[in-house]
Amino acid sequence: MTYDMYREIIIDHYKDPHNFGIIKDADKSANKKNPLCGDEMQITVKLDKKKKISDIKFTGAGCSVSRAGGSILTDIVKGKRISELKKYTDRQFIQDMGVPITPARKKCALLSLETLRKALNITKPSVK
């Protein structure tokens, strides 16, 4: 994948993010800040009876990578159970984003996943 293709994916999500907004009657929600750049994200989640994510939205001000991360993550986790997300690693998410993320931008990409974990009150899985 060329850098330009990567950039296109990121910028598409940046300009037209999926699941952007706030769920008013959310069951779970959290805010998180990236202290490096001041980016802020809010995630709101609606759960069904089986503890599956039935709806999820994210919002906040941030860079293209953090916003693309939120856009892609919310697509991925919709329909997933909390128990499954407990096993979802940082590395897996970066892979699922499908675009190369430089080390300097990892924190931006992971802001969404960290905010989601905070909302669901789950901890980062240990890497085997």
């Binding site: 850098y3 950039r7 300009k15 750049c37 001041g38 980016d39 860079c63 293209s64 990578v65 430089t102």
Partner: protein, 408 residues
């Protein structure tokens, strides 16, 4: 001599040979090192390294002499008048913490006031706030105006009988503003007995500083921003203040005599330098001072003045770009913080990086200042003696490229 700065001087810095095409615009965070500095450190380790102030043998005598000679060089560099007024620390942050933990804890009492400015780096803000909280003293902030400058008339309203310390930066690491330190100190002296600490981290590398002419009580700066190694900072203070200050850290190399009952401290400045210091780094710092003095700080300043003028012209002509800090060249140094509306600073920095342009993106350890500017983060391009107009042109192309990618 001026002609030798910029492109011609890059050859003194191995980093540019090993990274062809590098456009390094982050010297405000830390400057690159000339071969002479690297060689001085290698020489120390290869030829005469031993711990200082201890061994009764030739190597230790030689390394002690080399280490102590840098104290005299540092004193000369800022016209301290005596090497006894130079305390080596790890960096500017530690120098300020040293003052806050010793002088601060001995002198600040409940109800006292410490005056800071809104443009301070966290290093010259948090130690004072923690001290104030501990002592039930208060911290006041001298606001910046629209241009990112301090208004001297405001000072009259802020200084009171309770003001015990005024701490301010000589040059902002974000806005580039050069504060009129001498005038500020004169005004403070005319209104009371507050002591003054100047953060010189961004000024000492770029222009000649005379601490006695300024009449600063405390003056602090770092080696690594002036072509020297990391791990070395300087605290200058007046004799009578240093004499009354308690030690900061306790242990080896700072005592005159210890029994199981008694403890007697070394004389100033040794009493503030507990433990084995950064010997080779201090010696490397000496080489950095020699390097800059060879060029001449007035030449560095004149060269950078041209950079300031060219930088202002170029950045202010980019459509949509928002430049922070003064727009008059006389009021600032070659540190440019800016925003490209529609492009997040991290995205812009990544796009620059693709073109081998290194800038800083973030709040540059001045979060309250960014809150005042109404932005979470900014981009910062900081120039030094090895930067050229070509570097500036590449930055401008990088900015235009970022705008193009984001469809602006």
């Amino acid at each position: 001599m001026r002609k030798q700065l910029g492109q011609n001087i890059k050859k003194d810095f191995p980093i540019f040979k090993n990274n062809p095409g590098l456009v390094f615009l982050d010297s405000g965070a830390s400057a690159q090192k000339p071969q002479a500095v690297i060689r001085a450190i290698t020489d120390c380790y290869e030829k005469y390294y031993a711990n200082v102030h201890r061994g009764i043998y030739k190597l230790s005598e030689k390394s002690s002499a080399a280490y102590e000679s840098v104290r005299a060089k540092a004193a000369g560099f800022i016209n301290a008048g005596s090497e006894k007024r130079i305390v080596f620390t790890r960096n500017t942050t530690e120098s300020i913490n040293l003052v806050a933990y010793t002088w601060g804890r001995q002198n600040i009492r409940a109800g006292d006031e410490i005056l800071l400015t809104e443009m301070e780096h966290h290093a010259n803000m948090l130690p004072w706030r923690v001290l104030a909280k501990e002592k039930k003293a208060s911290v006041k902030y001298w606001p910046i105006n629209q241009e990112g400058r301090l208004d001297l008339n405001e000072l009259d309203k802020l200084l009171t009988k309770k003001t015990k310390l005024v701490a301010f930066t000589q040059m902002s690491n974000v806005l580039g503003t050069i504060n009129p330190a001498k005038e500020i100190i004169k005004k403070i002296r005319s209104q009371g007995s507050a002591l003054v600490l100047i953060d010189g981290a961004q000024s000492v590398p770029h222009f000649s500083v005379d601490v006695r002419d300024l009449d600063a009580d405390f003056y602090v700066f770092s080696s690594h921003k002036m072509c020297g190694p990391t791990g070395v900072g300087v605290l200058y203070a007046k004799d009578e203040i240093l004499e009354k200050m308690n030690p900061f850290l306790y242990g080896g190399d700072m005592i005159a005599n210890v029994t199981l009952q008694e403890m007697e401290w070394s004389e100033v400045p040794a009493k503030f330098e507990a433990g084995t210091p950064a010997i080779a780094e201090v010696i490397g710092f000496g080489a950095a001072i020699d390097y800059l003095q060879d060029i001449g700080m007035d030449n560095v300043f004149k060269y950078e003045e041209e950079m300031v003028k060219a930088g202002l012209r170029a950045l202010l002509s980019v459509e949509g770009l928002k430049l922070f800090g003064p727009h008059e060249p006389e009021a600032r140094g070659a540190v440019f913080a800016f925003e490209i509306p529609g492009v997040h600073p991290h995205d812009a920095a990544s796009i620059f990086d693709e073109q081998n342009i290194a800038v800083r993106a973030g709040h540059h350890c001045a979060q309250p200042l960014h809150q005042k500017l109404g932005i979470p983060a900014s981009l910062r391009a900081s120039f030094y003696l090895y930067n050229t107009l070509e570097d500036l042109n590449k930055l401008i192309s990088g900015i235009k490229k970022a705008q193009e990618i984001f469809g602006l």
